[in-house]
């Protein structure tokens, strides 16, 4: 059986959901072998095994936290040498895409980023991607023996598939590049208690129509009633109403939740680029001509300051 490497994205040992989705996709292509870098492999191996990892190649070294990207590339290169995989799957985070790119060059692999689906094909993995603000869908394959593929969150379900998840120590020799970029300080982001934006099943986003930082409270209240993450359009972020980490669109995050609620967002092409693949889109905007209504499965033409609080109240009442 062919081995498929899955790069484990974790925060201090907590495996992030997109990695478990990768294990689902990896099982379609072969036997998933997880690569875990940093401390905490023991606890993580159980979750990885529960989701189909037959093996966990683990390595811990200070280089992974003290330096940017390159040490992880060295480790994945060592993992490729150890198991000769047909494909390496990574989540489409900014960092993992950089790791993927450098790894592809080193191991002579074809590189696909931001896949939304991966299937087995006669000549290796076939990936689906969306292009040009999700106006097009493309299907690609690599023309090399090995494929390095990054996959967007929410592209596959997390499915339990018990496997051994046996930990094996990975031998890594760091290259000269490993220590090239030092991380001199790190400030952890404070958790809002809400789901991570790119991974969330539901996203509630506010735009220009929210008209002020303090008004984002009503967006947050709606999000909390739905257990959703909060997003913002570029206009809202550029106005300083909400932090950039929450920006959805071409220059911000790309999200693909089950439900996307856009409040006071007109739906410029740059915004659509970041949310058009959402399963259900709901829009609230007082401008009936706003392009967001062209995408919406359900739209309310009205004042968001009236509609959103009423909606939140209704949801709370139904859930009570």
């Amino acid at each position: 059986m062919t081995d498929i490497l899955v790069y484990v994205d974790h925060v201090d040992g907590a495996v992030r959901k997109p990695t478990l989705e990768l294990l689902t996709l990896a099982r379609r292509l072969g036997e998933p072998v997880a690569v875990y870098l940093g401390a905490g492999a023991q606890a993580a191996a159980r979750i990885l095994g529960d989701n189909g990892a037959v093996k966990v190649l683990a390595h811990d070294a200070p280089e992974y936290t003290d330096y940017l990207v390159a040490p992880k590339v060295d480790a994945l290169q060592a993992a490729c040498a150890a198991v000769s995989p047909a494909a390496v799957l990574l989540p489409s985070s900014a960092e993992a895409k950089e790791i993927a790119a450098r790894l592809a060059l080193r191991v002579g692999a074809g590189l696909v980023t931001d896949a939304v689906d991966v299937e087995a094909g006669p000549e290796g993995p076939v990936t689906t991607q969306s292009a040009f603000a999700a106006a097009f869908t493309t299907r690609s394959r690599v023309t090399r023996d090995i494929a390095v593929i990054t996959v967007k969150p929410n592209s596959a379900p997390v499915e339990a598939a018990p496997a051994a998840g046996t930990i094996e120590e990975l031998a890594v020799v760091f290259s000269d590049q490993a220590t090239g970029t030092r991380i001199t300080s790190r400030t952890r982001r404070e958790s809002t208690g809400r789901p991570e934006l790119t991974e969330a099943e539901t996203v509630v986003a506010g735009g220009r129509g929210v008209n002020g930082a303090e008004n984002f409270r009503i967006i947050e209240a709606l999000a909390d009633s739905l257990g959703a993450a909060v997003g913002a359009s570029r206009a809202a972020v550029d106005s300083g109403w909400y932090p950039h980490a929450h920006q959805i669109g071409q220059t911000g995050k790309s999200v693909s939740p089950q439900l996307y609620v856009a409040a006071g967002i007109s739906g410029a092409i740059q915004h659509r680029a970041g949310m058009q693949t959402s399963k259900t889109i709901v829009a609230i905007n007082k401008d009936a001509e706003a392009p967001i209504f062209d995408l919406a499965d359900y739209g309310v033409v009205g004042d968001l300051f009236e509609v959103v609080p009423r909606l939140t109240e209704e949801i709370r009442a139904r859930k009570a």
């Binding site: 002579g108 982001r189 009936a288 509609v307 109240e313």
Partner: protein
């Protein structure tokens, strides 16, 4: 010796202009207007600011692309870059990101650099991998996705924000840097800048100048192949209601019917 700053820019189809693919599954550049990728304007801006802070610096703007990609170079020159290099060759048609990084790396070695500045991603392909590929090819440190950047004493420092943390980075020159749209508004070219740009040198290079074999690039040299392109089915028009006081309630009913509540 001046600080040699190279800025890599891309000429991209206008996002508002109905982008689509040509028959060979490459981006159609014939039917849509192009422009300097907005995200690369931030790179030009940061290069200009770094140059202003340094005693002596020269900014070369570099692009790979067809004839009209010169427009992207002109824009960067009119913002204040000193000179431009255009890599243009018919055999480049269909080159993938890995191939483009080869061409850029060879061109950077050809022109000489201490600091390479890139935008965070192109606004068309949007892969966001080119700066990392360049660092790998050139065997220099990458300090990428910076929302703040400065250069002093042969070191580049900056701030990189991710979901989990905000980090300060430090690397020795030569290095590859990429900057985000949070790094600072890009300046508009002045009339004087536009006039001056017309006199600035634009050097053209082809694959043979860079010692690249045509098999290494283009569709033939690509390590990925696009098998199918389909226009995504337009979303069918949904239900739109006017709020007459019960819009919130109706929306809640829709969400409940769809099992979201």
């Amino acid at each position: 010796m001046p600080l040699r700053i190279a800025v890599c820019v891309k000429y991209v189809p206008d996002a508002t202009g109905g982008r689509h693919f040509a028959d060979d599954s490459t981006v159609d550049r014939e039917d849509v207007d192009g422009l300097l990728s907005e995200l690369d304007e931030y790179a030009v801006e940061q290069a200009l600011q770094i140059a202003d802070e340094s005693d002596d610096a020269e900014i070369t703007v570099l692009t790979v692309g067809p004839e009209d990609a010169k427009e992207a170079l002109r824009k960067a020159l009119s913002m204040g870059a000193d000179r431009a290099v255009h890599v243009e060759d018919d055999d480049l048609h269909g080159t993938d990101a890995l191939g483009t990084s080869l061409v850029l790396a060879k061109a950077l070695e050809h022109i000489g650099y201490d600091l390479v500045v890139c935008g965070m991603a192109s606004t068309d392909g949007a892969m966001g991998v080119l700066p990392a590929l360049l660092a790998e090819r050139l065997d220099v440190p990458q300090a990428t996705l910076l929302s703040e950047v400065s250069v002093a004493d042969g070191q580049v420092t900056g701030r990189r924000d991710s979901d989990a943390a905000s980090e300060r980075l430090q690397a020795s020159l030569p290095a590859v840097v990429s900057v985000t749209d949070q790094s600072g508004e890009a300046r508009y070219p002045s009339f004087k800048g536009i006039m001056a740009a017309k006199k600035k040198p634009v050097e053209s290079l082809d694959l043979s100048d860079l010692g690249i074999d045509s098999d290494e690039v283009g569709l033939k040299g690509a390590w990925t192949a696009v098998e199918a392109v389909a226009e995504r089915q337009a979303r069918t028009a949904g239900t739109i209601v006017n709020d007459e006081g019960d819009g919130g309630k109706q929306l809640a009913e829709f969400l409940a019917a769809q099992k979201y509540i």
